[in-house]
């Protein structure tokens, strides 16, 4: 599992061994190249941020990593082995995700949602479920206990029996994280975990992600909230039009003019003049 020395001297020195290595990932839809030759390496216990303007291909890249899409070119290695492009196999291997537009099982309770996440780590099949021997009951109890534990961990312990669709927005995001954690992942991919949250909830989400990292998981976060991402991540990758613009420590990425340009656009000549005129006036 030892690989060549990190190619990014600017980045904070990675601590653990690499969990995920995506090299040269290309995703084309017909003539449209949504992701073009993107590399990503995530080490154990590291939080990596993925930023970029709308339509930069962040979520498409996520889908390539998690087996929802089969990348046109390039490969995704998880703990040294290439993953088959099947979501289930990816989860089984230890990579879980949340969704940008929340995709909970709305008509199940919070607890049941998390219990579904345990599916791939439990084994009761038809006959066991019908006969209901001691083994089945033990497993069912363990599943329930673990789900409740995870709900407590994300701070939803008291609402475990509420329907997912009745939960407030912020809690739904946290429930998605609990459900992803239930699959016992080594790497968790969060797609805009603070979208639509107020500053207090955003801060709580940040603390939650730190706690997840402290459990020894690697985390990849897509986010638009720059203050959030730069105070959270060890390393940030900026995608623009499907290509890597820059990768490095938050400090480096933050101060790169090209990143600002990609988000806000190049200041227009006329606008500059106007602004200058205003300043003269004042």
């Amino acid at each position: 599992m030892t690989t060549s020395a990190p190619e990014r001297p600017a980045a904070a020195a990675p601590t653990g061994s690499p969990v995920l290595e995506a090299t040269g990932v290309v995703m084309r839809f017909g003539g449209l190249t949504a992701v073009n030759n993107v590399d990503l390496r995530v080490n154990q216990g590291e939080i990596v941020g993925l930023i970029g303007p709308n339509g930069a291909g962040k979520t498409t890249f996520f889908n390539c990593l998690t087996g929802m899409y089969k990348p046109t070119e390039g490969q995704v290695k998880f703990e040294g082995t290439v993953l088959p492009p099947k979501p289930r196999a990816v989860v089984q291997a230890g990579m879980a995700r949340t969704f940008q537009n929340i995709r909970l099982f709305a008509n199940m309770t919070a607890l049941e949602n998390v219990m579904v996440g345990r599916y791939c780590r439990t084994s009761a099949m038809a006959l066991t479920s019908i006969v209901r021997g001691p083994k089945f009951r033990r497993e069912e109890e363990a599943t329930r206990a673990r789900a409740q534990e995870l709900l407590n961990f994300v701070g939803l312990g008291r609402t475990s029996e509420h329907l997912a669709r009745n939960l407030p927005y912020g809690d739904q995001r946290r429930l998605e994280i609990a459900r992803a954690l239930a699959t016992d992942p080594k790497l968790i991919l969060l797609d805009e975990p603070t979208a639509g949250m107020n500053p207090k909830e955003t801060e709580e989400a940040k603390q939650l992600i730190f706690r997840i990292r402290d459990m020894g998981l690697a985390v990849v976060v897509i986010e638009h909230d720059m203050r959030f991402i730069f105070s959270l991540c060890d390393r940030v990758l900026c995608l623009v039009r499907g290509e890597t613009l820059i990768e490095g420590s938050p400090h480096v990425v933050q101060s790169d003019p090209r990143v600002i340009e990609a988000y806000i656009g190049k200041p227009d000549e006329d606008e500059l003049e106007e602004e200058a005129a205003k300043e003269d006036h004042a």
Binding site: R88, N107, M108, T109, M115, C120, A126, S129, E139, N166
Partner: protein, 569 residues
């Protein structure tokens, strides 16, 4: 209804005018029932004798007594029940039922007597009473009621309520089956429907629902006991038992299909083919002179072989088609149903191996014999003769019990959670590690297995197996039973199957226009209650995505149901 109105109604102890009008209406209704309704004795049972009410007059007396009960309830005579039941809503539904019922009776007298000159004053007294009830009750403000989940009665009271309910069901079913006159039967159905609606409007059923939720095991055992006792009420008569057996075989098959449709959410339009496959295998291995397989194993082995053959067919059909999503499965299963029918029609030795005797099918299948118990003989139990159909009925009851156990246990397990997740959001389920394809295939093949089991019994009960018993229409009826009754519930399917099988047996009209009436019924269901008569709560939520109140209510009930358990732990 505004709050100020309701509080005024409750705090005012003086009888209001609406209350008095309704009371007069109820009184007229009951008095009218004791008078003669028609000169013609041969009409609608016998309604021509004063002070000796006939069957349909007794229906109206029951309505009147219930109305009286609601009226007294409003005056606070039964302090406990006052909080639970909304008498005004109950009265409204009741009065509309009574009025509709009486208008129909007057029309029937006018048409069949013939002429309204043959109607006696009694029928008009009752009609006026019903109209007065309508006038009074519709101006009555609703009562404030409390949510039934907050009411806790001693458990023996709850169990008593369940026993009473099931007894009513048993005798109601026996009575309904005993009715020979189609018009009386229809009027009985109208009366029954009105009664159910009135009690539901008053909130009795949500209370029953809560009780049933708390005592699920008692309900299950009780319902099974009622079903078990039913043949003993028939005095050895085969007429009703044959219908009951058909209802049961239909319900059993529909239960199996409900695993596929209701739990896994797969639309299967060719399910009858699996039943047919089981029936054909069983017939071919029977001692019938037309059976073409030499091997005659004991019946229990045949059941298992039939089930395995059916589920193998399920695997063959399912494995290529379950990978695609959407309506493809419906089309493929539809085609499979046709392929099955055509295949058994043609395996007659001319076009292939001689297995099924083609269109003639396999007749003369002997009665089942398990050990020394022959299903064709009449057996006496406690002096009550139990005929051939009763024997099959009991066997089918056992099969139904097996399928219900499989159904409920799978539903409350890892597999059941996986199915729900697939129904809710297939992509998300896959991304959370649920084996989507495997679970779908399992539901499909498992459903086929159960149908094969039921089919192997059906072959013996029907005596012969022919291709035209297993046509698409039968699959559609099975599906209709599920849609009508409620996807994903056992009780719902039992209700749906009973309604769909019983109505054509008892009503010539429905039998002649079977497709028309069922079609209309389904359209009405889709418009007013898409989740079915007895829906599973999750299905109700799925059909009402925007109904926040419903979600709150179901959540409250759920939290109420799990909290005491946690308290005890």
């Amino acid at each position: 209804m505004t709050t100020s109105q309701t509080t005024a109604a409750v705090s005012n102890p003086r009888p209001s005018s609406q209350w008095l009008i309704t009371l007069v209406g109820v009184a007229l209704l009951i008095i009218g029932c004791f008078l003669s309704w028609s000169y013609v004795p041969a009409l609608l049972g016998n309604l021509s004798v004063n002070f000796f009410p006939g069957a349909i007059q007794i229906f109206m007396i029951i309505v009147g007594v219930l109305g009286l009960f609601f009226l007294l309830l409003r005056k606070g005579l039964f302090p406990g029940a006052h909080k639970l039941l909304d008498s005004a809503r109950g009265l409204r539904a009741l009065s509309v039922t009574a009025a509709a019922f009486m208008v129909l009776v007057v029309i029937v007298i006018g048409l069949q007597a013939p002429g309204l000159a043959n109607a006696d004053p009694g029928v008009f007294v009752t009609l006026v009473g019903a109209l007065a009830m309508v006038a009074g009750s519709f101006r009555m403000p609703s009562d404030p009621t409390v949510d039934p989940i907050t009411v806790h009665l001693p458990s023996w009271v709850e169990i008593l309520v369940i026993v009473a309910m099931l007894t009513v069901v048993l005798f109601g079913a026996a009575y309904a089956l005993g009715q020979e006159d189609g018009t009386v039967f229809s009027l009985f159905l109208l009366f029954l429907a009105g009664l159910v609606v009135a009690l539901a409007r008053a909130g009795l059923f949500s209370w029953f629902g809560v009780i049933a939720q708390r005592n699920r095991r008692v309900i299950m055992l009780g319902a099974f006991a009622v079903a078990f006792l039913f043949p003993f009420t028939q005095n050895g008569s085969d007429a009703n038992m044959s219908i009951a057996t058909q209802v049961l075989i239909f319900a059993t098959t529909a239960l199996g299909l409900n695993i596929v449709v209701g739990l896994a959410g797969l639309l299967d339009l060719g399910y009858i083919a699996f039943l047919g496959a089981g029936a054909y295998v069983s017939a071919m291995m029977s001692h019938s002179a037309f059976a073409n397989i030499g091997w005659k194993p004991p019946f229990l082995v045949v059941v298992i072989i039939s089930a395995i053959v059916s589920s193998a067919l399920g695997l063959i059909i399912g494995s290529p088609t379950l990978r695609v999503s959407g309506d493809y499965l419906a089309i493929v299963t539809l085609a499979f149903g046709e392929i099955f029918r055509l295949t058994v029609n043609n395996l007659d030795g001319n076009n292939g191996p001689d297995l099924t005797n083609g269109p003639n099918g396999i007749p003369g299948i002997p009665e089942l014999e398990i050990g020394s118990f022959n299903f064709g003989d009449t057996h006496n139990v406690l002096g009550i003769p139990l005929g051939r159909f009763a024997n099959y009925y009991f066997l089918l009851l056992v099969v139904a019990a097996i399928i219900i156990t499989v159904f409920t246990r799978l539903n409350n397990s890892r597999i059941g959670r996986g199915w729900v997740a697939i129904r809710e959001d297939e992509k998300a389920a896959e991304a959370m590690g649920v084996n989507v394809f495997g679970l779908k295939l399992f539901a499909f093949a498992g459903g086929a297995f159960l149908a094969g089991m039921a089919g192997s019994i059906k072959a013996h009960q029907d005596v012969s197996v022919t291709p035209d018993q297993y046509i698409f229409l039968e699959s559609a009826f099975l599906l209709a039973a599920i849609v009508l009754g409620g996807m994903g519930t056992v009780a719902g399917v039992l209700v749906g199957a009973t309604v769909l099988k019983l109505l054509p047996e008892k009503l010539r009209f429905v039998a002649d226009y079977r497709l028309l009436t069922f079609g209309l019924l389904l359209v009405l269901m889709m418009r007013f209650r898409p989740e079915g008569l007895v829906p599973s709560q999750r299905r109700a939520l799925e059909f009402h995505e925007d109904d926040a109140d419903l979600a709150e209510r179901i959540e409250d009930a759920h939290i109420e149901a799990v909290t005491p358990m946690e308290g005890r732990a």
